[in-house]
Homo-oligomer: 251 residues x 2
């Protein structure tokens, strides 16, 4: 499938058939993810493939019971991983210095770029994907379930399977809402009104406001979907797993 | 161009022609990047396009004088950005709760997935790209140069231009070095030897060892390229810019 077409037609799929993914296709998708850029070609990430029903059931519990995990045949957990690299260093008379925040972030970038390659490759085979944002909320518990050792932190989760729905493309902010030339041009009140106008005018926004009994779409985000108290709680949890996995020795 | 082919043929380009990128192609690339998944479709990232010579010269200084920035016509800086979303919330009677680490990481994920879409789209048009890892080292200075306000942190930089070299595909670790089934299977000493064997046997590895007068490739990484003292120094800097931009109120 044409690359730009694949990219432009992405939609997250939230209903899946239970059709298995042929092994050779899954392999090609994973191998396409390996080709993503990584810092210094260190490839400091790992991909954990969950296919067994029992394991997906446990992941489903941890990911706030999102049924996509039970429907789709494969869940992929992308982890920042310096464990393998550290072991290699130690076996080769080199002292690894990767127990700090920069190294965590470097490894997270590797994992995320690989994940996006994986998503695109899957879509090019007619598969659907959805990222599960719950992975960063529950990274500590997911790490425990998947037996991640020191140096390994889950940072992205993809469900992959054959779509059982054909959703419309979702809205995006206009070009001028995202792109800045030469320097960041901060937004005036009018800019903000213009950038969010289309999103606010969507029929589904009206429906959301009705169901949630709120006045603005921003309130639905800030009060319901991504509320401060949850963000603060999960910030602590996520920082804790980063520390517990040995990435916070910054002195 | 076929998607899998685009993904499988990626190589980072480090020499560029100064041929400009036609405006309509640059626009298509950026628009392809907007289609990447983002948390809750919030699109909490911005892309800063640097094309002016003077600006690229300043970026070149900050990015450790990597000449790619001077050669290629476009440098793109992808920023985690809650500034726009926060302003929208405030204009819509909603109290944003995004001044914490989880929100930073959420926004960084958005920025990185968009960056990878951008890289792939560019390559599908015959352009070359290279990620500059220096962005996380110098994020504070780059933010200052690009006038990033509170809520905005540079997390990925891509140079984009027409390639002036045709490098070979670089090596990757074997499948079993990256992929785990059901749970993370930690590596034995033999596993590590096997996983890194091919990389260690490359002719360029022999050359690197000779030039650096070191015994193992791992020592080149751990002592020269990505040494502990640098990682620790840049960890502090990066955590500081995350805090300075208002993302460390986790209580």
């Amino acid at each position: 499938m044409d690359t730009i077409k694949t990219l432009m037609e992405h939609r997250s799929i939230r209903k899946y058939k239970n059709t298995p993914i042929p092994e050779n296709i899954l392999k090609q998708i994973l191998e396409a993810s390996f080709r993503a850029s990584t810092t210094g070609n260190m490839q400091v990430y790992s991909i954990i493939v969950s296919q067994e029903k029992e394991m997906r059931k446990k992941l489903w519990e941890l990911h706030f019971k999102q049924d996509m995990i039970l429907q789709a045949p494969v869940t992929l957990t992308f982890c920042a991983d310096f464990n393998r690299f550290n072991k290699w260093c130690k076996q080769r008379k080199a002292e690894p210095g990767y127990d700090n925040f920069l190294s965590f972030f470097t490894a997270a970038i590797d994992a995320l770029l690989a994940a996006q390659n994986c998503a695109i490759a899957a879509e090019s085979f007619g598969l659907g994907i959805c990222y599960l944002g719950t992975v960063t909320y529950m990274s500590d518990k997911i790490a425990e379930l998947l037996k991640c050792p020191e140096g390994v932190v889950p940072v992205a989760t993809l469900v992959v399977g054959y779509p059982d729905e054909s959703p419309e493309l979702t809205d995006r902010l206009p070009y001028k809402g995202i792109v800045h030339h030469e320097t960041y041009h901060d937004y005036s009140e009018d800019d903000i009104n213009e950038i969010y106008r289309e999103k606010e005018a969507l029929p589904q926004t009206a429906e959301l406001l009705r169901v949630n009994e709120l006045e603005t779409l921003a309130q639905i985000f800030a009060q319901k979907r991504y509320a401060k108290k949850d963000n603060v709680f999960f910030s602590k949890q996520f920082l804790k797993v980063i520390k517990d996995k040995g990435f916070m020795n910054n002195d």
